[in-house]
Symmetry: C2
Subunit: 304 residues, 2 copies
């Protein structure tokens, strides 16, 4: 797993390629009945994406494992957990892109799933990715009690008090003036919940004790929010080709964003503060948290 | 739990009322943010439905419990499992009714969720009901290893090789001539998988041994299929007011059904044979399976 690699870009590349292989293996083949549904599921999940959630699972796993332990079961379990969060993320994008939601035609530089497979197949593909995520957690070769903890966390983070709740607030707020607090709540649910779950899942699966879990939680809260602030900044500053999705869409739809509420300078100040919080939270975890620290830098500095 | 009640209608009434209370408690309140999403989730789940899946969980639990054991933990666990299958069923109906799928405006005699709350909220409500089902399984007060078994079963039964896969085949087959075998596969996935899961979940939660599980599996396979044959017959013979949903819809849309493929007589013969298979499978389980037997009779004899 390259736990002591200092070359972060190489480590991230390795993890991105690895999770692609893992997802390819875990998704049913296109030959399985019904083939079009499985093709749509694979299209939605494979072939792109930053894989930040998977990287967070792996990096949090590294930060939590006791050094020197034979970690093969945990490594397999981390693959399952990383795949599970990527499946939930992929399903949420498919549904978010549908005509009844954001009505997006471009995702990761390709036609969205419903453009390629039709709305019904896209919706059903999303519906089927969700239980597959829970199935993968159930197949982890670790103590059943830890599996149950992981399942609970994923379920809460993906549900009406987490990711889906945030999407519902987002939908309902188009054209409305949200306060900074309301905006923060929306994003902490819509994007933050699953980013945080990714970090904590890595910790649970690798057997993190309560001190490490506490550090992971503080780190996760900071990067969860930072991620969305960057997204809002990029929606203004980047172009569609770089983003791989339609730029300027939030402003065009009069959606509240950090930039629209706090201004560009205010948003960048907030981002710096969150970045510092993330690093501070990792200090007690020592050098095994190096990749988590690098992911925080990566999230803050990304241009797409 | 009335394990020795012989009055089946009274037992079923009791279970239907009980699961309504249980679901009401398990669903987030409408005061939780976002309120409209939670209102839509509660609308989709509460206030109607035959609750056959919940009844199957309870009846299979009764058939699997050792008589005389203090069963309070199992009773709580059965509530969670029964609620979980009803949540999955409710979400599937909400998504199935959407304009991109069956485009139904009536369900259980009321406007469908998207008619009442809009398409986006209805889709998101379905999306959020699914993880809630897995969360409830994770909260069962039984051995974690049994929770993991239950989670795996629910995930597989609700996924692309189960319920959602069946819906995808159903969508893709409108206007096509399916063979009897193809139709059977579609229904065994679309409806059968979750009915079977309900029976087996009751067994897992109540600690059924392998002999009992074998009987439950054979029973479940028979009633899963029987349920759909009855549905197809009712689509032809019943009226909209009795059904609480639009009658004659399958024929109008040229959807393949048992009646369209085997004819009404052939369908009724098949139904009788499945009914007999269900009863035969329960014989080794003895008198504690009485309610499972009555549910088989109920499924075959229902008029809505």
């Amino acid at each position: 797993m390259g736990r002591h690699t200092i070359d972060f870009p190489a480590w991230l590349d390795d993890r991105v390629q690895h999770i692609e292989t893992v997802l390819d293996q875990f998704l049913p083949p296109v030959t399985a009945v019904p083939p079009t549904l499985h093709e749509a599921m694979r299209y939605a999940v494979l072939g792109g994406g930053k894989r930040i959630r998977a990287a967070l699972v792996y990096a949090a796993g590294e930060a939590s494992l006791q050094s020197g332990t034979a970690a093969s079961a945990q490594e397999i379990a981390l693959d399952h957990a990383a795949a599970a969060v990527e499946l939930i993320h992929a399903y949420s994008l498919v549904h978010d892109d549908l005509p009844c939601m954001d009505d997006d035609e471009l995702r990761r530089g390709r036609p969205t799933a419903h453009v390629k497979f039709g709305v019904a197949n896209a919706m059903l593909a999303g519906d089927a990715l969700q239980p597959l995520a829970f199935e993968l957690l159930g197949l982890m070769p670790i103590a059943p009690a830890l599996i149950v903890q992981a399942t609970q966390l994923l379920a809460r983070s993906a549900g009406s008090l987490g990711m889906v709740g945030g999407q519902a607030i987002d939908c309902a707020s188009v054209g409305l003036a949200l306060s900074g607090e309301e905006l923060k709540l929306m994003h902490s649910m819509k994007t933050g919940a699953m980013l945080e779950a990714s970090v904590l899942l890595g910790g649970i699966v690798a057997g993190a004790g309560s001190a490490v879990r506490q550090g992971l939680e503080a780190y996760a809260a900071a990067i969860g929010l930072a991620f969305q602030v960057v997204d809002d900044i990029l929606d203004v500053t980047a172009d569609t080709a770089t983003l791989g999705k339609t730029a300027g869409k939030d402003a065009a739809e009069n959606k509240p964003t950090y930039v629209s509420i706090m201004g560009m300078d205010g948003s960048r100040d907030l981002l710096q503060s969150l970045h510092a919080q993330a690093h501070a939270a990792l200090l007690p975890l020592g050098p095994s948290a190096a990749h988590l620290a690098s992911i925080a830098d990566y999230i803050v500095g990304r241009d797409r």
